[in-house]
């Protein structure tokens, strides 16, 4: 009896949660027959089971509810909030009865006549005597039906149970539904079958297990794993024998078993959300507001203990949002917002944490009132409160004994404050953040570490030790082994990796953890990790597999160690630390700063040419040479032996192509052995390598080329990092490798301030130094639209040099736009294009370009550009 009752209680409680949710959905869309039949079935199942177990009070309440649902379904009764409220009340009553049943083991005495009459009053005329009838009729319908049906095992069991249950009246088949005419009616029979099927399904598809049982099981399985490992070890020492195959099987089964039990502990967060639609709905009805509750990511899995801990805080916050956050319809409309307020719940996994966002689009928190309240409650002095930022003031709501609600409604004011919410969340190692914009809404962001959640992790090794890195943080895996395409470079002994178009900062796991090198195989892989907005590489020796792991929190004595998010036991029984890329990067120092610098650098390069990164190298003598880093796509150290000499030129097989190599120094002596440092330039799928003696450093500097150089291959000199360096003219070397390299590129302008518009970063970086060396102050834009933005921003230029082919707004359109507006109408414009047909040039002139230069004529480009610039500048002077 006990077991059966226990199961009934658990199952019914679950059904009731589903019912709550479904009913709220149904109320919103009463035309959805699927939802209705689902609701009906759930209620019917509850009713049926109650009857079977001899629980007349429960049965009659459920029956009354079912009665109304039946009317809904048959279209006899309109779906009104009142009717839905009545059903919800019936559900609540069932819940109360269940609670007492659970504690007392029997239904409490009492009557539900009042509620049932009210319900039946609504369902009238046919619903009158329902509660009397059902108490007798119900048991009969369920038991025999199952006995007759296709569930032999269930039938046997039921028969056994029936024997042991004296109070169950094993009555003859009786009407399923209250209407006397019902028994032979097809519809009702069908319903009865559906109900049965569901009962049978839920009985076989889920069972309830005590958590301790699972915990014990988990421990036992770990033992099993260890034993298996011992066996495997012994087996390995043996020759082929009969045990091999069964042992392997045992091994697999053990792994699966471990996996399965681990998963048993996980539950979707939706389980904690079940109650919310109902709460929000009731609140909306009570306060006369319109509120929509959106729930995303309900399937996100959490450890059940964590789930229990956040259930109440979540409920409280949603309730708060609905009660205090969302304004009533009129106020919302007056504020220009949709009448229906929205509360959005969003759960997701990110960077090793579970995030839950609760956002409403209500009135936002009243900072001034919180400030006042904090002063009144003695949480802060007036002066201190006045000096606080709004964000700091908002934090007061998390302090004990703080509540801003001036009206205590039936909804809020239940003695749970945000302080309790925060305490609960912090107890499981989580954090809660708050942001609020007056009139726009309030957002809470809860961050819970994956303490017990299952994550997929990459197992890596460094210096003979294994570590796990959560897959969530890993965006890419790059092999940098001896023969691989990508190779680690060191610039001033700082390791970097050129990954496609960016330079990736690296953290050596070995160095970060102060481990000693072991063996010969080092630094073979770079794990590209992303934490928040920053991307960096973690250098490791080996990469194994990915494994699903359960993250266990580290012992308190290790919590001060920043590198780990937790630890776990792997399938083979070994303990392994789980790395925290965030902590690693922070510990590696200034990563954040680095990242910011990189971001600044990128934006600076995009809009202004005054700051740029230079690669410093040595070639042909001791003087430092500099080249804009943006031009260099990779830095390679090629084995001297791989360089082939063909017809007096040097080539190397690079990425399945032959790449020409050009020495910086014409007198360069090619080595037979060792390595040759090469700067690789790529554009439009072609690459060439510039052979240099040594790569020295990367610096970020204002681009100020001091004077022009007569020497081919040099643009001039500049002061970079406090030293005079020669600025290399990449174009010179590029044309040595490919005479037509610049067919696809563009050039520049004349006067004090020049605007360079070109969609190719390569060309921008090539032309900008040329202009700078001719004493121009250069600003760049990547297309016509961006150029016009500069005009809107009130910038002025003495000349505009523009490419023709560009996305968004091309050169011709740009010229038209400029010529048709007062502001830049008189600024000389030079077109730079690889289209040099007569027609192209005419079109350019028509659009408003003053001069038209061909990109293809690379050797004369600087010269032509300078001439055109001088000409336009002097024309302009004459004009003014």
């Amino acid at each position: 009896m006990d077991d059966l009752l226990q199961e009934f209680l658990a199952e019914t409680t679950e059904s009731l949660s589903v019912l709550d949710v479904e009913l709220v959905r149904f109320e919103r869309d009463s035309s959805d027959a699927t939802i209705l039949s689902n609701i009906f079935r759930l209620m019917h199942t509850i009713k049926g089971t109650c009857g079977f177990l001899g629980l007349p009070r429960l049965g009659s309440v459920a029956h009354a509810g079912e009665n109304i649902l039946g009317k809904f379904r048959d279209g006899e009764l309109a779906v009104t909030p009142l009717a839905v409220t009545l059903i919800l009340r019936a559900i609540d009553r069932i819940r109360e009865l269940l609670a007492e049943l659970e504690t007392a083991g029997a239904e409490p005495a009492g009557s539900d006549a009042e509620l049932i009459d009210e319900i039946n009053g609504l369902a009238a005329p046919s619903g009158g005597p329902a509660h009397v009838e059902i108490a007798e009729a119900e048991p009969a319908s369920t038991l025999p039906n199952i006995g007759d049906g296709g569930f032999p095992v269930a039938a046997e069991l039921l028969a056994e149970i029936a024997q042991s249950l004296e109070p169950v009246p094993a009555a003859a088949p009786a009407p399923e539904l209250p209407a006397p005419a019902a028994p032979r009616e097809p519809a009702s029979r069908e319903t009865a079958k559906e109900g049965e099927a569901r009962e049978a399904a839920s009985a076989t598809s889920s069972i309830r297990v005590n958590v301790d049982t699972i915990e014990n099981l988990m421990t036992l399985i770990s033992e099993l794993v260890l034993t298996r490992n011992q066996l495997l070890q012994m087996q390995r020492a043996q020759k082929e024998n009969d045990f091999k195959v069964p042992l392997q099987r045992l091994s697999h089964i053990t792994s699966d078993l471990q996996d399965g039990v681990t998963r048993m502990r996980m539950q979707p967060i939706g389980n904690a959300w079940n109650k919310l639609p109902r709460i929000v709905r009731d609140l909306a009805v009570e306060t006369g507001k319109k509120i929509e509750l959106k729930m995303l990511g309900a399937e996100t899995e959490l450890d059940r203990q964590v789930l229990e801990m956040i259930k109440d805080p979540l409920t409280h916050m949603v309730r708060n949002s609905a009660d205090h956050g969302i304004e009533d319809g009129l106020k919302r409309l007056a504020a220009g917002k949709p009448e229906t307020g929205t509360i959005a719940l969003d759960a997701y996994h990110e960077s090793g944490h579970i995030f839950i966002r609760i956002a409403d689009d209500g009135r936002g928190l009243d900072v001034e009132r919180i400030r006042q309240k904090a002063i009144t409650n003695g949480l802060a002095t007036e002066a201190a409160a006045a000096a606080m930022s709004d964000q700091q003031v908002l934090q007061f709501i998390f302090r004990a004994g703080f509540s801003t609600a001036e009206k205590v409604t039936s909804v809020s004011g239940r003695g749970v404050g945000m302080d309790v919410v925060r305490t609960n969340i912090e107890r499981i190692g989580g954090t809660i953040e708050l942001s609020s914009v007056a009139g726009r809404g309030t957002t809470f962001l809860i961050k819970i570490p994956l303490t017990l959640a299952i994550v997929s992790a990459l197992i890596v090794e460094v210096s003979g030790q294994r570590f796990a890195i959560p897959q969530l943080n890993v965006t890419e895996l790059v092999s940098v082994a001896e023969r691989a395409e990508a190779r680690l470079e060191t610039i001033n002994s700082t390791p970097v990796l050129r990954l496609r178009d960016r330079l990736l900062p690296l953290i050596s796991l070995r160095a970060a953890l102060h481990l000693q090198p072991q063996g010969t195989s080092h630094d073979n892989f770079v794990i590209v990790a992303q934490v928040g907005g920053s991307t960096f590489g973690i250098v490791v020796d080996r990469v194994f597999d990915t494994e699903e792991i359960v993250v266990k929190p580290v012992a308190p004595v290790l919590r001060g160690t920043p590198y780990y998010v937790g630890n776990t036991i792997l399938g083979d029984g070994s303990v392994i630390m789980i790395l925290d890329p965030n902590g690693l990067s922070a510990a590696a120092g200034q990563m954040e700063g680095l990242d910011q610098a990189a971001a600044q650098e990128r934006s600076a390069l995009a809009a202004h040419a005054d700051l740029a990164s230079f690669l410093l190298f040595r070639a042909s003598g001791k003087e430092l040479k500099a080249i804009p880093l943006e031009l260099v796509s990779r830095i390679e150290s090629l084995a001297a032996a791989s360089i082939e000499h063909v017809g007096g030129r040097q080539v190397v097989q690079y990425r399945e192509h032959l790449m020409p190599l050009v020495p910086f120094d014409p007198a360069h002596v090619w080595k037979d052995q060792g390595h040759q440092d090469v700067l690789v330039f790529s554009d439009n799928g072609r690459s060439m390598g510039l052979a240099v003696d040594e790569v020295v450093d990367i610096v970020r500097e204002r681009m100020a080329v001091e004077l022009s150089s007569a020497r081919p291959g040099l643009l001039g000199s500049a002061i970079i990092a406090g030293k005079a360096v020669d600025v290399v003219d990449a174009a010179y070397f590029l044309t040595q490798a490919f005479s037509d390299w610049f067919e696809v590129t563009a050039l520049h302008a004349a006067a004090k301030r020049a605007l360079l518009v070109d969609d190719s970063p390569f060309f921008r970086n090539l032309v900008a130094p040329l202009l700078t060396s001719a004493n121009w102050q250069v600003t760049t834009a990547s297309d016509g639209a961006e150029a016009l933005k500069l005009r809107e921003a009130g910038q002025n230029f003495d000349v505009i040099i523009s490419d023709i082919e560009m996305p968004n707004l091309d050169g011709l359109a740009l010229a038209c736009a400029i010529r048709n507006d007062e502001r830049w109408r008189t600024v000389p414009m030079i077109a730079l294009s690889s289209h040099t047909e007569e027609a192209d040039i005419n079109a350019g002139r028509e659009a408003g370009f003053d001069d038209y230069l061909a990109k293809s004529d690379q050797t004369r480009l600087p010269e032509n550009l300078a001439r055109a610039m001088r000409a336009t500048a002097s024309n302009q002077r004459r004009a003014s």
């Binding site: 421990t219 770990s222 030790q465 308190p556 290790l558 630390m577």
Partner: protein, 156 residues
């Protein structure tokens, strides 16, 4: 290893039973009621970057247990013959720790008559972790205060 406590003995004159062990020839004791397990450590997984007192982690029947190197904890010189030693597992605030010691002795019951306070001149670290000193026929036994012993802060 089995441990016997004699309730009769405990009752009289507030005697206490200790599991004894040696670290660098010093006899230590941990109340037998706090000891969960005694084992020979196998495969200690190190925690690079962790506090120096933590020598690693072991898997004790599916539970991750932090191994505390008692020599380091007590500012004693490292053991010359690495790899040997025994582990005494205790629990502190819900987490399991195991103390890596040179050798485990016995379970002995000591009457409170034999109990002495810490000598005032004791090294600061020792004074912190020692609960009391007992006179035994095997020499002085330092009884350890588990929670204080395991109050290991983050250290570089």
């Amino acid at each position: 290893m089995t441990m016997h406590t004699n309730p009769a003995e405990l009752a009289e004159s507030e005697a206490k039973s200790f599991v004894t062990f040696k670290v660098a020839d010093q006899l230590f004791g941990v109340p037998v009621t706090e000891v969960q397990d005694i084992l020979a450590p196998d495969a200690i997984a190190p925690v690079p970057g962790g506090p120096a007192d933590v020598c690693g982690l072991i898997n004790l029947r599916g539970r991750i247990v932090t191994v505390i190197d008692m020599r380091t904890r007590l500012s004693l010189p490292p053991q010359d013959h690495a790899g040997k030693g025994m582990c005494v597992t205790v629990e502190s605030r819900g987490d399991a720790y195991t103390l890596l010691v040179d050798a485990v002795g016995d379970v002995i019951t000591l009457s409170s008559d034999l109990r002495e306070g810490n000598p005032a001149t004791l090294d600061a670290v020792w004074r912190e972790v020692a609960d009391a000193v007992y006179r035994t026929d095997q020499g002085l036994l330092v009884s350890l205060h588990i929670d204080r012993l395991l109050a290991i802060g983050p250290k570089s």
